[in-house]
């Protein structure tokens, strides 16, 4: 082969190589864009709807890009007495749930991972089983029990029922974290004169702070998002939480989509940020630690 032939050969080959690579790249980005559109378009639509004037929303020729922007819907939604009221109800229920969950779960996780007594492994397994039981299975009997003890239409009563799914979730997560902390530190503290319980409060708890913070935030979001129990156990409209209150607009005849989307944006932005920032821990928690990323 002459050097010219070698050269032309190389050019041909590398041309084919680059063409192939370019096509592959283009297909990859196309797939990525289709996926991004599928995942994110509803959010785009929620945000833009909340910012567009009514005449645009209900016009015959809706455009994909907003022509005009307004904060009017936010103003309407936020100045409504009920929205603020529901917001504070949701905050009360979610905070109470988070605090009670942390108190109960930390004690339980410490008991199961650090103390030895008969029945411990059965208890550990039953925590996992309770986490797996869906709450929709038990809401009718829980409703009759709640009304018998007069806890219907009571925000703290609602928070109490939420513990049935936040406690197993957080206990299991904390158990996984406690197991990664070596025993030596607690043993050293006990040699220095701490009681068993003090070694828990003074050594283990401060070390487990990241996991405890994560558990608190997740039980808060679980309670914030919950719909079925809030719908069944709270009938007084002054005590409704945000999910039930907002969606009750949809059951009425006239849908005010602008303010509804404005309310949805306000109810979901903090939660979405938390989920995205902490996704690794949360996914592991939902898989009950069976898969480590």
């Amino acid at each position: 082969m002459t050097s010219v032939q070698i050269f032309t050969n190389l050019v041909h080959r590398s041309f084919a190589y680059y063409a192939c690579r370019t096509i592959k790249r283009a297909l990859f980005w196309l797939a990525l864009l289709v996926f991004a559109l599928w995942a994110a378009f509803p959010f785009y639509w929620m945000f833009t709807t909340s910012l567009r004037p009514d005449r645009e929303l209900y016009s015959r020729n809706v455009t994909l890009l907003p022509q005009d922007l307004t904060l009017n819907h936010y103003h309407i939604e936020f100045t409504r007495y009920l929205y603020v009221n529901r917001l504070s109800n949701s905050l009360i229920v979610a905070s109470a749930t988070a605090l009670a969950t942390l108190a109960i779960s930390c004690l339980a996780a410490f008991s199961i991972t650090r103390l030895r007594y008969p029945g411990r492994s059965t208890l550990a397994r039953s925590i996992l089983l309770v986490y797996l039981i869906p709450s929709s299975l038990l809401f009718i009997p829980t409703y009759t029990i709640m009304s018998r003890v007069n806890l219907n239409n009571n925000l703290l009563g609602l928070a109490l029922t939420y513990l049935s799914f936040t406690v197993p979730f957080c206990t299991w997560m904390l158990m996984g974290y406690f197991k990664t902390i070596p025993l030596d530190l607690e043993e050293a503290a006990m040699i220095d004169g701490c009681t068993r319980f003090q070694s828990f409060t003074k050594v283990l708890l401060p070390l487990a702070l990241p996991a405890i913070a994560a558990s608190g935030i997740f039980s808060f979001t679980l309670a914030w998002n919950e719909f079925l129990y809030a719908l069944v156990f709270i009938t007084d409209s002054k005590l409704q939480t945000l999910p039930v209150g907002l969606s009750s607009h949809i059951q009425a005849d006239i849908y005010m989509w602008g303010p509804l989307m404005a309310g949805s944006v306000m109810a979901s932005v903090p939660i979405v940020l938390i989920y995205i920032l902490a996704q690794r821990v949360l996914v592991q928690g939902m898989l009950a630690g069976a898969v480590r990323g």
Partner: protein, 287 residues
């Protein structure tokens, strides 16, 4: 070490009381309720299996059972496929990956009730964006009633279920892919395996465990989903999207017939209990 034992029981006591009061006792009282004629405010006499027989005679029972499992199985199958594709795309390293990963997570991160409200609006008959786009592109001549048309409603619900659920699958598989050693892929490349072969002989077997757990978990969650169906269609039109959770709500809370309402979930309990036991075995395997 009597002290350690006593402390152990003392600290686990709140959890045990909670599970007793909010799980075990409600479960037992559900069984009792389902054999009584209890309505809100009165009743409570033993009626044997009358509630179950009443349900069996209900003409739409088969439809309801079919819908519940159809949404769950088809939904999970599609979530698996879409989630796996998303994970494979995001496992490639490219500029802007973190941004796209954030975008893909959005449906999972948003509260379900917000997601349903947004989709209700997009599905809307008069001003919904789906109808606008379909009409503008000339695909349909008339506005479609996505949630009101008996032939479309179930499909519309499933599309929503897949959208809401696929990121959890994707994130789980992405996490699982990190734990597959890179040497396997390098060895396969040396042996001349193409991308498909690498996927079927390395990636899929490596993810076996995660796939089993995500699919089983999601099957339980989807079969028990409430607000997705309740807020999208309310079970309609004429029970074409009716599922057991919404039926339970309508019987027990709307019609105040607690006996029949308690019987509905119990009919599904054996199947769900089986799934729960199987998935818990999988989850405990690595502990």
């Amino acid at each position: 070490m009597g002290g350690e034992r006593r402390l152990g029981y003392l600290l686990i006591l709140p959890t045990v009381l909670l599970f007793g009061g909010l799980v075990a006792f409600p479960f037992l009282s559900a069984i009792w309720l389902s054999v009584t004629d209890r309505v809100v405010g009165s009743g409570g006499n033993f009626v044997g299996l009358a509630n179950y027989l009443w349900l069996l005679r209900w003409p739409d029972l088969g439809l309801m059972i079919f819908n519940t499992w159809f949404i769950a199985t088809v939904g999970v199958a599609l979530k698996f496929v879409v989630g796996m594709c998303a994970a494979l795309l995001l496992n490639v390293s490219f500029r802007g990956r973190t941004f796209f990963r954030g975008l893909f997570m959005l449906p999972w991160a948003v509260p379900t009730f917000v997601a349903v409200l947004v989709w209700r609006w997009m599905y809307d008959h008069h001003s919904g964006v789906f109808n606008t786009v379909l009409m503008r592109l000339g695909i349909t001549e008339h506005r479609l009633s996505f949630l009101g048309n008996p032939d479309l409603a179930l499909l519309s619900v499933i599309v929503f279920v897949v959208w809401k659920g696929f990121p959890f699958f994707g994130l789980s598989y992405l996490a699982g892919m990190q734990s597959i050693p890179n040497e396997l892929y390098e060895a396969a490349k040396v042996d001349g395996a193409n991308a498909w072969q690498q996927f079927f002989y390395i990636t899929l077997p490596g993810l076996q465990h995660v796939i089993a757990i995500t699919c089983l978990l999601s099957l339980i969650w989807t079969a028990n989903a409430f607000e997705m169906v309740y807020l999208l269609t309310g079970g309609g039109p004429s029970n074409r999207t009716q599922v057991f959770t919404v039926l339970t709500y309508q019987l027990g809370i709307v019609n105040l017939r607690l006996g029949e309402a308690a019987a509905v979930p119990l009919m599904f309990f054996p199947m769900l209990a089986g799934l729960i036991v199987v998935v818990s075995r999988y989850m405990l395997r690595n502990q």
